[in-house]
């Protein structure tokens, strides 16, 4: 075991710092004769009051552009470079074959507003993917409009709102568990709801008795993640569904992380009415450093009319076509047809796996998660919150509360120290109901050797915490930069959000010094 790992460390200036006027030689356009003759007179026809005089974009050469962004990329940790067990994010391998599909001219050189007769291929892919997702979730219909999970949640919450409004009921409340992802309450709030939090019980699951007390005529529905963010399956799901449905509330399934149960159980069979999926998690499409993703929203038959456009249909006479949205639809939530290329990659992934392959992914992701947990369990300073005997699903959460008390080393320090060994940190301080939370999601695609190395490294870091805690506080030292000053980054006097602000600040500082 060593900390031989070193991330690239380029002393890379910003584009604005290497710019020279006229350095850019790239020709974006070619002027032919008749065009160049008239160029000047046509440009002169623009009213002077509209013409731009100043544009401060930097000019650099092509080699500098390529080098700049290539060097930066080398200072970016990724699944392609190493183990990325970021909980709740499902950082599995992103098959490179799927990327080839998303580079086909036939799929990328298509305008979204072309006549349907010219985009039959795009629609067929979405139609087929929809069928597969219905099979995986037990829903009857999906819309691909949402660009990400949170966007799907927003659509889902609007569906809950519309469902009750159509009955003449203006229900004000959505219930979310205290372990829910932040997007759940944020999405419900955007859709105009008040949020009531239901507490978790001492098993780390929804407190069903409390839920029963909270449920009433004013509650539009419940948003639930299952397995929940602790990694536990909410095994009283049947009771939960009955409680919500008994008041004609709706059950929303946050399917951002389906990686433990795809091919094993279906939200639709558990009684959920609405589901969103994150294709950029379970369905292997890459996260692109923050996006793009895709968060298709699916519903049971009785809610189909509320879905946002586009909905894709097929008939032998018409071929594939966009269905006219129902009058009760929540309306459009994004122009065009969602993050199409992300959907294409997810379809490619499902074609590679088939049903059995999907099931295997769930089984092995759960196996890997419990395997790592079995190794961590016995380590000093590690607490497994809630029933340690219950199997976890695709991810698990441990707490470093005891370690912090014993050594003064906190979860964030451990996370930073892991970087020094070439591992990405887990998700930390989430879910909020676990103190010093450390949330690990190994996924099914991580080789066992890496899982073992990770566990061994963590053991060593914990040992270091007990023997040389000051070392850990300095971590990381092997990355492209040392620990980042996030306080300064956020301070109102020093916050710098663009080169424009940076230069403005320097100027005003210099002027201040002159005075």
């Amino acid at each position: 075991m060593s900390e031989d790992y070193r991330q690239a460390r380029w002393p890379e200036p910003l584009l604005f710092e290497i710019a020279r006027s006229n350095a850019s030689k790239y020709k974006a356009v070619t002027w032919h004769d008749e065009m160049s003759y008239d160029r000047e007179s046509i440009i002169e026809s623009i009213p002077k009051s509209l013409l731009r005089e100043n544009l401060n974009l930097p000019e650099v050469s092509e080699i500098e552009v390529i080098r700049h962004f290539t060097r930066l990329s080398q200072m970016n940790y990724s699944v392609s470079t190493g183990f990325y067990p970021l909980g709740s994010c499902t950082m599995k391998y992103n098959p490179v074959g799927n990327e080839e599909v998303a580079m086909m001219d036939e799929l990328i050189n298509i305008h979204p507003l072309q006549d349907v007769s010219t985009v039959q291929g795009c629609l067929e892919i979405l139609y087929r993917l929809e069928k597969l997702l219905c099979t995986v979730t037990g829903m009857d219909r999906f819309s691909f409009a949402p660009a990400a999970g949170a966007h799907g949640e927003f659509a889902g919450c609007l569906i809950m709102r519309k469902y009750h409004l159509v009955k003449g009921e203006n229900r004000k409340v959505i219930i979310v568990p205290d372990s829910a992802h932040g997007t759940n309450p944020a999405s419900a709030s955007m859709a105009g709801f008040e949020i009531e939090e239901v507490q978790s019980d001492n098993k780390g699951m929804v407190n069903v008795e409390k839920l029963k007390e909270m449920m009433g005529e004013d509650v539009a529905g419940l948003m639930l993640t299952n397995p929940n963010t602790i990694g536990l399956f909410e095994n009283r799901i049947k009771e939960i569904v009955e409680i919500i449905h008994s008041y004609d509330g709706l059950l929303y399934y946050d399917g951002a992380n389906l990686n433990a149960i795809a091919g094993i159980v279906r939200p639709g069979d558990m009684g959920f009415d609405i589901v969103h999926l994150n294709l950029h998690k379970t369905f292997s499409t890459p996260h692109g450093g923050g996006g793009p993703g895709s968060g298709p929203i699916g519903v049971k038959k009785r809610l189909e009319k509320f879905l946002p456009p586009p909905l894709i249909a097929f008939s032998p006479e018409r071929g594939y076509y966009f269905e006219e949205p129902d009058k009760k639809s929540i309306g459009r939530i994004k122009a065009f047809h969602g993050n199409f290329l992300v959907c294409v990659k997810a379809y490619a992934y499902l074609l590679r796996l088939g049903w059995q392959g999907l099931r295997e992914a769930s089984e092995i992701s759960v196996l890997a998660s419990n395997y790592l947990l079995s190794k961590l369990k016995s380590m000093e300073g590690v607490i497994v919150p809630f029933d340690p005997e219950l199997p976890r699903k695709h991810e698990f959460v441990v707490s470093f509360k005891k370690l912090l008390k014993d050594t003064g080393v906190s979860t964030i320090d451990i996370a930073k120290r892991l970087l020094d060994y070439g591992f990405h940190a887990p998700t930390i301080y989430f879910p909020l109901i676990v103190e010093e939370a450390f949330m690990v999601e190994p996924t099914e695609t991580e080789p066992k050797r890496e899982l073992d190395r990770y566990a061994e490294t963590l053991r060593q870091i914990i040992k270091e915490a007990y023997t040389a805690p000051e070392n850990i506080k300095k971590a990381p030292t092997n990355m492209s930069v040392n620990r980042v000053d996030e306080v300064k980054a956020n301070h109102p006097r020093t916050i710098t959000l663009s080169w424009k602000i940076y230069t403005k600040r320097i100027k005003s500082k210099e002027e201040g010094e002159e005075k």
Partner: protein, 462 residues
């Protein structure tokens, strides 16, 4: 009981490794890990499904479906409305393919993710120059949702519910704005133009006192740039409302920026800065605002800031003001957005870096020149009407063919290998059988001439 992987090609474990893991946990079968799930829900029967296929088979299958599309350059393509046909430089493709960016998550650990953070800071900085506004977030989903969020932000800031819209905003974008503001009680009021192509200021003033914002686009969805663009901010601000502008960003190589005309918030679609059409997604929502503390606190989306390491020895970058975001503020967050379109922002940063000031200016001049040459050539056809003839147009314009429906014209053109534009007859009945068409830097005068020959043939029923 042992387990071996037979179908999933991406699981790396051997049978022995799986057995070892099971032993370490203390289970005899993987099913035991699912024992806590009520039996009645466990799927018993294998459903109908596609796959599994090898990589080669999968590529063949999808290719066979994809060829049913009619795609550029197999057709001459003339549709815009926010998504534009651009030449995508090899440099942009090269950077977008780099798996270090592609396969990373949101940069939660700044020390491990300086590459993405710096690239996004570059994006924010380049876009800030282009827009003339200091603060740009590191992306929204697309233009339409950026507009939705801008509407919500103006309603939050002003406490008023009405958003005034300068006419000719692309229909789908308007629908999205409505979906976003409706739960807050927000609503839209549309105002029009004078015959000189100025936004109707009288109508604007009548509506402003109880409005959160005025939203105008330039160029608008019918392609022209309103002449009194630079006079609106003062009028709007006098009544305590916000000015939001929507832009197709390449126009800013030539025309005054949102900042220069006094806009408070700017939104737009970044796809047109060097990204492929992709059937409309992924694209890139641009969102910017003035350097004003109150606006900044109310802004949706992720922001990257420049800082130093804790020793103060090297410059670095980190996500900032996360206290506005859903993972901290939950139901009180300024937006629910989490995953955004970060990679597209890196692509756009690459494009802007490659073109630079002179390249972007050149691009905008070319598009402006070609569009207006095309308008002149269309105007000379005695069977064509151009409703906004004489106004400055960029990239798109509207025409109709006398005594022929837009539908018929477009069908005729398609038979001749031209996707000629979008039928907007039912969206704007006052324009008649109108088609909005589009010319970008991918086109040339030869494309204009080819289009016109085809149009003549369609009119002559050839």
């Amino acid at each position: 009981m042992s387990k071996s992987i037979k179908h999933n090609p991406f699981i790396p474990h051997t049978d022995e490794e799986i057995a070892e893991m099971m032993r370490s946990i203390g289970i005899n079968s993987i099913d035991e890990l699912f024992n806590d799930i009520p039996k009645e829900f466990i799927i018993k029967k294998e459903p109908d499904f596609e796959g599994p296929f090898s990589e080669k088979e999968m590529l063949e299958r999808i290719s066979n479906i994809a060829v049913k599309n009619l795609y550029y350059p197999r057709v001459q393509l003339h549709i815009g409305q926010g998504i534009y046909l651009r030449y995508v430089p090899a440099a942009v493709k090269e950077i977008l393919r780099r798996s270090e960016y592609l396969t990373s998550y949101t940069p939660y650990q700044p020390e491990a993710s300086q590459g993405m953070l710096t690239a996004l800071f570059e994006y924010q900085s380049l876009m800030a120059e282009l827009l003339g506004l200091e603060i740009v977030n590191s992306s929204m989903y697309d233009w339409s949702t950026a507009l939705g969020e801008a509407g919500r932000m103006a309603i939050r800031l002003s406490g008023r519910k009405k958003i005034i819209i300068g006419k000719y905003v692309f229909k789908e974008r308007l629908e999205v704005l409505n979906t976003y503001i409706e739960p807050m009680g927000g609503f839209i009021k549309e105002i029009g133009y004078t015959t000189e192509g100025e936004l109707n200021v009288e109508e604007l003033e009548r509506n402003l006192h109880d409005s959160a914002a005025l939203y105008v686009e330039y160029p608008n969805a019918v392609g022209f740039i309103m002449k009194n663009l630079d006079e609106l901010a003062e009028i709007v601000h006098r009544k305590g409302a916000y000015l939001i502008t929507g832009v197709e960003p390449t126009v800013l190589g030539l025309i005054k920026s949102p900042g220069e005309i006094g806009a408070d918030i700017a939104v737009g679609e970044g796809q047109s800065l060097g990204l492929p059409l992709s059937f409309g997604g992924p694209s890139l929502g641009i969102f910017a605002c003035k350097d004003d503390p109150k606006m900044l606190r109310n802004m949706p989306g992720r922001l990257i800031g420049m800082t130093e390491d804790v020793n103060g020895t090297s410059r670095c970058f980190a996500m900032v003001l996360q206290t506005r975001e859903q993972h901290i503020k939950r139901e009180k967050a300024t937006s629910n957005i989490c995953t955004n379109q970060a990679l597209m922002a890196v692509g756009v940063a690459t494009y802007l870096a490659l073109l630079g000031r002179s390249g972007l200016r050149e691009l905008a001049e070319y598009i402006f020149t070609l569009t207006n040459k095309a308008i002149e050539k269309f105007h000379k056809l005695d069977f064509v009407k151009i409703p906004f003839y004489g106004l400055p147009h960029y990239q798109e314009f509207v025409y109709s063919v006398k005594e022929m429906t837009a539908d018929k014209v477009l069908k005729g053109l398609l038979e001749k290998g031209i996707i000629g534009g979008l039928n907007i007859a039912s969206d704007y009945p006052e324009l008649g059988e109108a088609i909005v068409t589009c010319f970008t830097e991918v086109h040339s005068l030869a494309s204009v001439n080819n289009y016109i020959s085809a149009l003549k043939a369609v009119v002559r029923h050839e």
